[in-house]
């Protein structure tokens, strides 16, 4: 038996539910967008059970000036998107990396910007924190150099955070 197919009639697709879903998705992604993580490199962090949650108060002007130093597994450091070779065998290249680190620290700790907010303690220690976002495979010596640079009295950046990750432990059945 032949099936009759109607021709000449336009099939109108109801787009309303799809547009609704699209808008919902857009709103969801907009709300979950975290632009603050853009300075962090994708690294494999060390495990630590007793660390605190890595969260800054967005309203805190001091936390917003935090200096993020990424330490890559090969000893390169990334500061505000710029890569510097701290592990170089060439002393000039190593000098450039340490100099960049030092300049960036001096810049963020400079008591210039925020109106009404003191960026230094009475003993001249900087209130601006530094977060060392290091790969677990990176040599400790590079992290030490970064700490030594920060702790120099001319910079006095004594508040240091270390990025780690808490292991996700699945609950045993029946627990």
């Amino acid at each position: 038996m032949a099936v009759k197919v109607a021709t000449g009639e336009d099939t109108i697709l109801n787009m309303t539910p799809m547009i609704d879903i699209c808008f919902n998705l857009v709103i969801f992604f907009m709300l979950t967008l975290d632009l603050s993580s853009k300075e962090y490199e994708q690294l494999t962090l060390a495990f630590a059970d007793h660390a605190v949650e890595d969260k800054d108060d967005p309203a805190d002007p001091i936390a917003s000036r935090k200096l993020i130093v990424n330490v890559l597994p090969d000893g390169n450091i990334v500061l505000k998107g710029n890569k510097w070779n701290l592990s170089s065998q060439d002393p000039k290249e190593q000098y450039a990396a340490l100099k960049a680190l030092q300049s960036e620290m001096a810049l963020v700790t400079a008591d210039d910007g925020l109106a009404g907010v003191k960026l230094r303690e009475p003993d001249m220690a900087s209130k601006i924190p530094m977060q060392i976002h290091g790969d677990r495979a990176a040599n400790w010596r590079y992290v030490q150099w970064i700490i030594a640079t920060a702790s120099h009295p001319k910079i006095a950046m004594y508040k240091v955070f270390f990025s780690v990750k808490k292991p996700i432990v699945e609950d045993a059945p029946g627990s």
């Binding site: 699209c22 495990f47 495979a137 006095a156 780690v164 808490k166």
Partner: protein
């Protein structure tokens, strides 16, 4: 003059550009999406009487609990390198050899194995602290003496720091080698 408005005809709105824009937005947000991971941090305060240009340290009769880290077998292949953790003069723990595996199951197995080893480190720190009647003024010290201590992976130092915090000691100093002396021609660091 009255306008002639046709009635009975439906106005068709061309939705295609809007849907295109919506999809573009969805793709953009999906690519920039970062789910909240288990990211955490250690918040630390560096001692102000230490560092490259510090004031002389004040000697106290309290003995700090020191943990030394060394990288061993570095002359061999990378798969044979391992970290030795020594708590005081009594406890020595050797971590598994080779770099951390990157695949899920192997990485988890390594983490579990290291958890057991670092539990020994925590116990040794607790024991050393209890010898000093859990004096709150006792500090921890993580030492990475050169040359092999400087090659210890950052992740191992963080785990030792975690062991100190687990034992109840949150004041921990780091001790190692200073940065190299450099000038523009190969020496002289401006800050030194």
């Amino acid at each position: 003059m009255a306008r002639n408005i046709e009635q009975g005809e439906e106005t068709q709105l061309n939705m295609t550009p809007m849907i295109d824009v919506c999809f573009q937005l969805i793709v953009f947000f999906m690519l920039t999406l970062k789910f909240p991971s288990a990211s955490s941090r250690f918040e630390s305060q560096l001692p102000k009487d230490r560092g490259p240009a510090s004031s002389p340290a004040v000697l106290t009769p309290i003995q700090d609990i020191s943990v030394k880290l060394f990288r061993k077998d570095t002359e061999k292949d990378k798969t044979q390198h391992f970290t030795r953790v020594r708590v005081g003069e009594t406890t020595t723990v050797d971590l598994p050899r080779g770099p951390w595996p990157l695949t899920g199951d192997e990485e988890e197995a390594r983490r579990v194995a290291e958890d057991k080893l670092f539990a020994q480190v925590t116990d040794a720190i607790k024991a050393a602290w209890s010898h000093q009647q859990n004096n709150p003024e006792v500090k921890g010290e993580i030492k990475t003496p050169p040359p092999t201590g400087q090659l210890v992976p950052h992740g191992d130092v963080m785990r030792v720091l975690d062991a100190f915090v687990a034992a109840g000691i949150s004041a921990v100093n780091f001790e190692g080698a200073p940065p190299p002396l450099l000038t523009k021609e190969g020496g002289g660091w401006d800050l030194r």
